[in-house]
Symmetry: C2
Subunit: 230 residues, 2 copies
């Protein structure tokens, strides 16, 4: 995956209605972000080939298919097969377990040079009902599957911190920044590597301006956090 970028931000193109809007966003934001995340609504509505067309506009970015896969191995592989040529990484849910599921997906992705990102828990309040409470079990799944990355909620930074401690060599991506309420930089301060931002940028009248504002806050919060901790 590409490494250099201005901000430690992945832009979620999940809520983007038209392909034209997605093209415009990628064109404007490319070079300024770490990567782009493509959601299932966009991929279903426009077909998985849209990933390749978007990617060609900004090949330097990391392209992540956010299919939120949560099925048996055979079905997850058949799903990923439709998009594997056009993305660098794929997001699946840790709660489906390793045997007969994530073990098979990981092997499939490894063989094709693609990265696996596992949701460790989610950003909405309903995640507290089951997901958060199963975190000790999910740790075992993560340890066994050894994904490249984890998704952990910026909205509950103590969980980011916990996952960073338990899985020191795994990249952490944190959604929930902006529209969902987390302040930019907070997740980074607690150990995340990248923050995922959607509507606060993609629904903005000035997406580049909003990105730069969020990026500036991110860096300021991170500086302050480091001062407080050292």
């Amino acid at each position: 995956m590409p490494g250099s970028s201005t901000y430690r931000i992945v832009v979620a193109l999940d809520a983007v209605e038209t392909v034209r809007t997605a093209y415009r966003l990628v064109d404007v934001l490319c070079e300024k972000v770490y990567g782009f995340k493509l959601g299932l609504p966009l991929l279903l509505r426009h077909g998985p080939k849209v990933a390749g067309r978007l990617r060609s506009l900004c090949p330097s970015a990391a392209w992540i298919a956010d299919l939120k896969l949560a099925d048996i191995g055979a079905v997850m592989k058949a799903t990923v097969e439709t998009i594997i040529d056009d993305v660098d990484a794929v997001i699946a849910h840790s709660f489906v377990g390793a045997r007969g599921a994530l073990d098979e997906l990981k092997e499939y992705l490894d063989a094709r040079g693609r990265k696996l990102i596992l949701v460790a828990t989610m950003s909405h309040s309903g995640a507290e009902e089951v997901y958060d409470k199963a975190l000790d079990l999910i740790d075992f799944v993560i340890e066994r599957v050894q994904p490249w990355g984890l998704v952990a909620p910026a909205t509950r930074p103590s969980l980011v911190e916990r996952l960073r401690r338990k899985h020191p060599n795994t990249v952490i991506l944190s959604p929930g920044v902006g529209a969902q309420g987390a302040k930019p930089g907070t997740a980074l301060c607690h150990g995340a590597d990248y923050e995922i931002v959607g509507r606060a940028i993609t629904s903005s009248e000035n997406p580049l301006g909003s990105l730069e504002e969020i990026g500036a806050t991110q860096m300021e919060v991170l500086r302050q956090c480091r001062r407080e901790r050292h």
Copy 2:
């Protein structure tokens, strides 16, 4: 949803490679089954509109979109929006919780006269790592969200029995029959309403013959089970 059918079977079209094969299967099996389940690989590869085209071949069947939804409410709704006109029911994961997720999806589906089916736990062995152990928490989600149906594994009939006891008024659909190892009729015997069969029918050289064979076993196992229990 349609009620009358020869066998209490839902055919999973998940592993079907071409639309032509899917058309042929629906044409041959219509009238003999309760419904058809459309998997994410098929819908991504051929676009969600394929659901409407298949449905028009067999409007009497129940059509279920097996998207295995597992996201925040806004994303699940945007995903379902692409297919809602062409299906009767949608499958989502109970694991994501109610608040900010399944509550919103349920309300959205209710308003459009569509049914929600929640995965209670899964059929593969990896489901024992996290999902099965969270079943007490998942019961609360099911009680709150009040879905029309549940998915519970035919491969672990004791779990089907447990869910039937806890959620007496909910329809239970059980996958894992055939290729995944469960004997037809076993889940019905333990309280399921329908069994989901995929490859054992869809990969057969004689799908109708395989369906009739599985259906006959199903009825025989169910008769025997009722004799033993009464």
